[in-house]
Symmetry: C2
Subunit: 224 residues, 2 copies
């Protein structure tokens, strides 16, 4: 196997040199004729795939474990969807939860220097949603804010919801409406797909009051 191979420089059978690596085309041919089960078969995935397609599928397999959805922390927790909420409540106690479809997500001290994340939970329709505001420098010297909503649920469940983020000042209003991502995709996936409200520091200041930014968050169910 891969681990043993690294410790060998001679063939254990014929004592011939094993350097350079020599492809075993015959065995590759056999392998490409065989379908392998996904490594998450034990948690429910029934797919079988060619060895060339396995890694790509396993990276997004819906039966893979859920990672801790908290952005900006180095938490390496993994577990089932059912265990995510209790993990958050025990390991990330500082996250506030608000009840209701229509709440205000208050991000305090948006002028804090460097990359900062603001996180809170919203609970409605029998589900928990994670609200995230991220400040980061995508290109040097130019800080931007990224706001998005993720469902603590599967990708399929997320399709049933819509969210709206609204910033409003005395004379301006900025609104973003979209479907939430599932926490099975991470915040960084939502950001890199532009599936979020993006705004500059100058726009943030237009809406902030004393360095605090209130974002109106409304969650609704999609019409079937």
């Amino acid at each position: 196997c891969k681990q043993c191979r690294q410790q060998l420089s001679l063939c254990p059978t014929c004592r011939g040199s094993l350097t350079p690596n020599i492809r075993n085309l015959a065995m590759e041919k056999v392998a490409s004729a065989v379908l392998f089960p996904c490594k998450y078969a034990t948690t429910g995935c029934s797919l079988t795939l060619h060895h060339t397609e396995k890694p790509k599928h396993e990276a997004i397999c819906e039966y893979r474990p859920y990672s801790c959805p908290c952005p900006g922390t180095s938490c390496d927790w993994e577990g089932s969807l059912e265990a995510v909420m209790s993990h958050l409540m025990h390991a990330h106690k500082s996250i506030t939860t608000l009840q209701g479809e229509d709440i205000i997500f208050l991000a305090t001290d948006i002028n804090l220097p460097g990359a900062v994340d603001w996180v809170m939970m919203q609970s409605c329709f029998g589900h928990h949603f994670m609200l995230v505001l991220k400040k980061q420098e995508k290109c040097e010297g130019h800080q931007q804010f990224f706001a998005t909503v993720l469902l603590i649920g599967t990708r399929k469940q997320a399709e049933n919801f819509q969210y709206r983020l609204e910033l409003h000042g005395s004379c301006h209003r900025l609104t973003w409406e979209a479907s939430p991502c599932s926490i099975h995709d991470s915040v960084s996936v939502a950001i890199s797909n532009s599936n979020c409200l993006v705004f500059d520091t100058a726009t943030a200041h237009l809406f902030a009051d004393n360095g605090n930014l209130g974002i109106n968050v409304t969650i609704s169910m999609c019409c079937p």
Copy 2:
């Protein structure tokens, strides 16, 4: 005066050296006791100001002439507000005008490289509005779009209106509402004040169809 002074190196009266420049504190004292009329007195400004405040006021005086509002052109036309529309119709014939409070501003080929401006006119409530979409690189390697609406009218008149810009795709919607600027302030003032909808190239692609971006523009009158 300033022009003559530059041609003199000796005092025309006593032939003494005029270098270095010597402040005439006595005359400065006299000047600061006198109020001067604004240089736009002949077009209606009745303000009189201390010489130290004159340049600042004259840069924003509401009686100063209007410049050509077209962004990205090197047109150096100046004239009265009443003459702006006929200037645009004669000198910038390629600008389309649409009638109505609710129109679609279609920006074609948003993938064109470099800094690009899209401009059109919207006519409603007996006024003309200029719709501008600007693509530019505020920070290196990071292009952004800036969309705004300006009234062909005074700053005072602009306060009576609101505009809404809306981008919508199959699953996303981005909306911006604000009061239009007057063309007496330029597009670059609106952009530097963040009085505009700002979005990244990635967001533009989310809403664009085949490289063309449709922006719904709705203009309304403010409730008194």
